[in-house]
């Protein structure tokens, strides 16, 4: 199985399809949300098949509820397997979060406490996903707004331990690092310093919104604006430490025109090239 290129990609939006067909050659890869491609046919598959023919593809699940307390949805897992079989993506990733509890699907990435018990559950779930898909997956660090009093394991350690026990890789969302660190009044540099960068198979960048709380700012992982400057700085630092990595720009709400999104990807690409050049010169 091939890997995503260490280049800049973007989250695919159907409204950009025509522009991409004439201008997408500079994009390293495209990422789609798995749940949007689970219909039987029609436009979504026609577009994704056309993209697949020319580009590396990442399939990103948003609904598996790996951090949930209950068993995974076997039907949904089977549909993910079909999708991966159909497109043979270079990467499949999911989130350290839950979105289903009881019968209801809540369509949001909700937080879980980090304990020995939840660690064992997440490990079992990641094992189950990797077995069902017959591939190594990447697990993404979440953006959070609350911390559970019951948590006993730091998030970075939790992710590292899931990866150690399951063999999965990690997806480092640098915007999520910034959002969570600001929200919990911690240092994003320390999070990055502790993160097992050698396990990172992909990086996510995206925009956030900001609200004010009495104790300070509250950042919201909104994906509706350009990537913020502190996130670019953090990203540059990660790439200097880890070397060039596949990097995705996510922009899911108030989706801009193609040139605006492509320019964000070009900014990430420039940082990747600079590091690649530095490595060659060294």
């Amino acid at each position: 199985m091939s890997h995503l290129p260490a280049a800049a990609g973007v989250g695919f939006k159907p409204e950009h399809f025509t522009a991409i067909r004439s201008d997408g050659g500079k994009i390293g890869f495209f990422e789609v949300h798995a749940e949007n491609y689970m219909g039987a046919g029609g436009l979504p598959h026609a577009q994704l098949s056309a993209l697949r023919a020319d580009h590396a593809i990442s399939i990103h699940g948003v609904g598996l509820s790996i951090g949930g307390a209950e068993g995974l949805d076997a039907n949904h897992l089977a549909r993910l397997r079909s999708l991966c079989d159909r497109y043979e993506p270079e990467s499949f990733s999911e989130h350290l979060a839950w979105s289903s509890h009881g019968a209801d699907y809540l369509n949001a990435l909700l937080p879980l406490p980090y304990t020995e018990e939840t660690l064992a559950t997440v490990v079992a779930h990641v094992d189950e996903v990797q077995n069902a898909l017959a591939r190594r997956i990447l697990l993404e660090n979440p953006s959070t707004y609350l911390l559970f009093a019951q948590s006993t394991i730091p998030e970075v350690e939790f992710l590292g331990e899931v990866a150690r026990r399951t063999g999965c890789g990690l997806l480092l969302d640098v915007n999520n690092v910034q959002v969570s660190a600001v929200n919990h009044r911690t240092d994003p540099q320390r999070y990055i310093a502790a993160f097992p960068l050698h396990l990172v198979g992909e990086i996510h960048l995206g925009g956030h919104a900001e609200e004010a709380l009495p104790s300070g700012p509250l950042l919201i992982d909104a994906h509706g604006t350009p990537v913020a400057d502190p996130v670019w700085d953090l990203y540059s630092q990660v790439i200097r430490q880890a070397g060039p990595l596949p990097t995705l720009v996510e922009w899911d709400n108030d989706v801009p025109d193609w040139p605006t999104l492509a320019a964000e990807a070009a900014r990430a690409e420039a940082i990747l090239r600079q590091e690649a050049d530095r490595l060659v010169a060294a």
């Binding site: 689970m38 029609g42 026609a46 809540l106 879980l112 707004y145 559970f148 709380l213 009495p214």
Partner: protein, 250 residues
Amino acid sequence: MSPHSDILSVFRNALNGGGLPPDLVLGAADEAARRLAVYQNNVAHSLIEALAARFPVIRRLVGSDFFAALARCYIEADGPRSPVLAEWGESFAEFLSTFPPLASYPYMADVARIEFARGRAFHAADALPIDPAWFSAQDPWSARLDLHPSVHVLRLEHPAVSIWERNQPGGEQVTLPAGGEIALILRDRSFDVPVRAISPGDAALIEALREGDSLGSAAGRARSAEPDHDPRDILIHLMRQGALITPEQT
């Protein structure tokens, strides 16, 4: 129940407005409520928008604010069970027909039926349309042909096709016909999903083809439904849209 499951149940209850127990999360209670609200907004907003994506004309008809309140009631009654939100909403038309604030708008349910069928047509399986040469290669009236999986016929009590049409971008304020309409919904060759009002004979012909009748038999059933029905116009329309396929495909 494990502690993990208990904590998620408490959190789920808090998302529904049940309040955060003081020992669940770190930080001051008033701030914790503001932080919880981010998750509450994410859940509500994403589900309301997902429903609106399936039922844009209903939102246009009732207005955004009313739609948000309506969606919250529907989520409570029959929220999504699967992460594939494009498949959610099958019961929405029925829900609208029994939603007391919309009792004076009985056509809403029919509009929702059209919109739900459009979503299914958009995502329906692919199938290769028959070649026009198929008609000259055999006696078409005794042969069987099938319908593209995206084809839906809806018999509606209200003139919901006309209501749907006039609520499209650039839709004209046509006078609504009296009585019900029959909707033909399909995905055309460029992946659009137009909605068209058809006659009782057209509908009978399409339904007969779906049941496996030969074209001749289907045309006969169309004449039973509509005595002077001529099958040619609807067949030409279906063929141009790519909605006629050979039976082996289904």
